[in-house]
């Protein structure tokens, strides 16, 4: 339950008057479109972009999501307008959270959807224009030192259906030696489940 207004005035403003809503999806001639999240987990985000001269000319979005998702994507859509694709591709949730004057900690995960959907939209544009080589493979971070399991492998395991710590261990052998990584790994498991479950 929300404890009163935990949000900054900037968040409130973007939540009350969200910018750049994609109101008519069918008639919007986008150059790239990306969608992440799912209704089962309670939020979903769609970002569509128009590109001109290597820059984002326009950025529109829609969401089934909470206040944080709405405010952060509204802010994101403002920030990336006019930005070179390469730069927009590397905008992080932290950049947006900072611009919003911060978000309650337990709400940060709701705000990553906009950024992920934007990346997906830019990648869609790269694919449509034959620039697949510009799509980056995100750098993997080692989570389990003993068995050398990375976040990418956890992400892959979740995409393949892993939903519990045991599933994850069966697929990746993660945490089968010292088990110190369990907390971090389970957090990622929930995060990826949220995105792909």
């Amino acid at each position: 339950m929300a404890n009163g207004w935990l949000y900054t005035d900037i968040v409130k403003d973007h939540f009350t008057n969200p910018r750049n809503i994609l109101e008519d999806e069918d008639s919007y001639a986008d150059d790239g479109k990306g969608s992440v999240g799912n209704i089962k987990c309670g939020d979903q985000m769609l970002v569509a972009i128009r590109v001109k001269d290597g820059r984002i000319e326009d950025c529109k979005w829609k969401t089934y999501g909470c206040a944080s998702a709405i405010a952060s994507t509204s802010m994101l859509s403002e920030v990336v307008k006019g930005m070179p694709l390469e730069e927009a591709y590397h905008v992080t949730p932290a950049d947006i959270t900072k611009k919003l004057g911060g978000l309650p900690e337990h709400k940060i995960h709701c705000s990553v959807l906009g950024d992920k959907a934007l990346r997906a939209a830019i990648e869609d544009y790269y694919r449509r224009t034959g620039q697949e080589d510009r799509i980056e493979r995100e750098k993997a971070v080692t989570i389990c030192q003993c068995m050398n399991v990375t976040d990418k492998e956890i992400e892959k395991a979740v995409k393949e259906g892993a939903r519990t710590w045991l599933d994850l261990q069966n697929k990746t052998k993660i945490g089968t030696v010292c088990g110190q990584c369990r907390k971090k790994a389970e957090e990622l498991l929930h995060e990826y489940e949220h995105l792909y479950g």
Partner: protein
């Protein structure tokens, strides 16, 4: 920000009844320990005894069958922790049964306690519910066995309002030699409760849901029912619940119950009329909604509605900005990734669980409040749905 203030979250908690507030204000100077033998102790003790009598009378119990606790969660924990306590010194251990049968839509103070007991080796069955939230009697028939120590099913659900047939469930439990507990935290004062008629062995209640103070509740324990103490210490409550009597809380609880016994009938009629006005108004003014719970067997002031294509926390916060205070079953508002376990148990789609809003009305709710909600909500829904990825796409 809005100038309106419309509180529609009475199932979460209630403001003090002015009569309770007056009784508490008057009682502030009562400082004696109700267990003490001297005059100030005896004075406090009298007040405690009076409150106990009021509560007992209201539910058809004897005063010695009422134990004051720190609230509904403590009452629920006390009862569930009697299963397989393993101490060997109390009456519950002699029963030798290790099973608990409860329902999938209980309050967290039952569900999470039951899961904790599972870790201790107690076998727990969560009976399912139908689409209206009624516990499946077939599930109970199948689950309650000679191994079952206790059946615990709530009387009225806090989220969707559905009332259970506690009397029939108690009959089943007793036929198979199990004890029966009901969590009546939401029902007392809204639905007539007579423990002799229900025949339950244990019943939980909390004052703050009925315009009383927070942190005070009761546990009804039928005379002769097995019991083991949860909070050990002094000899208060005949050794059944230690801790200096919370005189102020107990006086407030007693007053709240006394007022409810007088006002309940009119109050219930008023709440039902307001709820129906809100329900009909929403159905008329907002398309694609789903009313959750049972159409008739429900708490009089509870209305739980799911809005397609809209996430509950967003609805809640837009309403809050307009001065309307409600709650939601959305995952985003709960801090977990799971939406309401109650709504999921009734079989609604996750989208409808995430998009649910609970309006719970109470004694200060007016006709004008309902009008204001009916005027404020439709444009909010239109706004949220216009930016929704899932609304308006269905053929």
């Amino acid at each position: 920000m809005s100038n309106h203030s419309v509180y529609m979250d009475y199932n979460a908690t209630t403001p003090l009844h002015p009569g309770v507030k007056a009784a508490l204000t008057e009682a502030f100077d009562i400082y004696g320990n109700a267990s003490s033998m001297h005059s100030s102790g005896r004075y406090a003790g009298e007040k405690v005894a009076q409150a106990r009598e009021i509560v007992a009378r209201f539910i058809g119990a004897a005063p010695e069958e009422i134990i004051f606790t720190g609230g509904g969660s403590e009452s629920n924990n006390t009862v569930l922790n009697m299963i397989d306590c393993g101490s060997g010194v109390c009456s519950c251990v002699a029963r030798g049964r290790r099973g608990l049968v409860t329902s999938a839509i209980e309050h967290p103070s039952i569900i999470n306690t039951a899961e904790f007991l599972q870790h201790k080796g107690v076998s727990v069955t969560f009976a399912g519910v139908d689409a209206q939230g009624k516990v499946n009697m077939e599930d109970l028939e199948a689950a309650v066995s000679g191994e079952t120590a206790l059946v615990s099913v709530m009387m009225g659900n806090n989220e969707i309002g559905t009332l259970q047939d506690v009397k029939a469930i108690t009959r089943l439990a007793h036929e198979r030699g199990a004890l029966m507990h009901t969590d009546a935290v939401q029902t007392l004062g809204k639905v007539p409760v007579d423990v002799k008629d229900l025949d339950v062995d244990f019943l939980s209640f909390s004052a703050h849901k009925l315009y009383g103070p927070k942190g005070i509740g009761i546990l009804y324990v039928k005379k002769g029912a097995p019991f083991c103490t949860f909070i050990h210490g002094g000899h208060q409550e005949d050794g059944r619940r230690a801790g200096t009597y919370n005189t102020l809380g107990i006086i407030g609880l007693g007053k709240a119950v006394e007022l409810a016994s007088r006002e309940m009938k009119d109050e219930v009629a008023k709440l039902w009329a307001l709820r129906e006005k809100l329900r009909k108004g929403l159905l008329e003014k907002v398309p694609d909604i789903h009313v959750n719970g049972h159409p008739a067997d429900t708490l009089p002031g509870t209305l739980n509605v799911s809005f397609r294509g809209a996430e509950g926390e967003a609805i809640l916060l837009y309403l809050d900005m307009n001065g309307i205070q409600v709650s939601t079953g959305s995952a985003c508002a709960s801090g977990s990734l799971e939406p309401s376990h109650v709504l999921l148990a009734t079989g609604v789609e996750p989208e409808l669980a995430h998009g649910s809003i609970r309006f719970s009305l109470g004694r200060e709710t007016t006709d004008a409040d309902v009008d204001y909600v009916l005027e404020t909500l439709p444009p909010i829904m239109q706004k949220i749905r216009s930016m929704s990825t899932v609304y308006g796409k269905r053929g």
